[in-house]
Amino acid sequence: MSQATAPAHPGEHHAEESKFWVYVQIAMLLAVITGVEIVAIGLPFSKWLLVTSLVILSVVKFLFVIFYFMHLRWDKLFCTILFFIGLVLAGGTAWALMLLFGVEDSKPLTYEEAASIAAPADVRFIT
């Protein structure tokens, strides 16, 4: 619960007053970035450049929301650490799975490919 204590930093009251316009400006920026993303997918650039651009733009939007709208910029560092623990675990899991399933051997065989492989005598394909 909020406590009746003095603001931690001088000028914090002024910062609270000006947050309204900070939020509005950030929302406009997020809308513009979203527009840029939509336009970007139609541009005739190389795929790696577009993928990198889209990922960077998404990360920028993500960071603006968590640090400004979700107040991580003004909250204690522990909140950021706590959230990033979950984020790193989720991102690490996704990264590991993409690596694991991205290798050639992870590609699922078609029926024809599977049938062409010499199977042991005791293995039968169920059709």
């Binding site: 619960m1 909020s2 406590q3 009746a4 204590t5 003095a6 603001p7 931690a8 914090e12 009251h13 609270e16 947050k19 309204f20 939020y23 509005v24 950030i26 929302a27 997020l30 809308a31 979203t34 993303e37 939509i38 997918i41 139609g42 795929k47 577009l50 993928v51 889209l54 990922v55 733009l57 998404s58 939007k61 993500f62 929301v65 968590i66 400004y68 709208f69 979700m70 107040h71 909250d75 204690k76 522990f78 909140c79 706590l82 959230f83 979950g86 984020l87 675990l89 989720a90 991102g91 899991t93 996704a94 799975l97 993409m98 399933f101 991205g102 992870s106 590609k107 699922p108 078609t110």
Partner: protein, 205 residues
Amino acid sequence: MSSHATATLDHHNDPTTSTGIPNKKLLMWAFLASDCMFFGTLISTHMIYRLHPPPGNPDPRAVFDIPLTSFSTFILLMSSLMMALAVNAIQKGNVRSMRFSLLTTIFFGLIFLGCQVYEFSHFVHDKGLTISNSILGSTFYTLTGTHGLHVLIGVIWLTAMYFYSFTGRVTEKQAIDVESMGLYWHFVDIVWIVIFTVVYLLEYL
């Protein structure tokens, strides 16, 4: 509440807890961290199956409707703005302004849900993509449906808070209740930021 009281309240720290963070806020951040992992697995599953689509899988570009999804994304971003303004208002003790912002957030949330219902209906009836007839359908509906469920829970929570504010119990001192709800709503927004890029936009490259 008067503006004088605003100057004496610190909404980011609580010296009575061992961490200095309000307990409700800490609880919400811990929950959101766990929800990150939940959505991480769902998004990973979708990406894995998109890496190696089985024969006969429908082409997402023939199914997706980018203008509609872009509109939904814009609406959700604006709802995040209104939620941030609601938190800002109650932290200043301005309950009427908070109510207006909450109502607008609810409205935007309902528009987003309406767009999603329309999208699902369009995909099922016009495009023939169901949850069980392809892996794309299974992972897509599971991921975006789970996100939609989160939005629905958020809308219900916002509506409950809106009506609860008329009891006079939502004041500047209880701003943490609105702020916790705001954290949840913004989280729903950042998950959509990832889904919009990974599930929709990357398909067009």
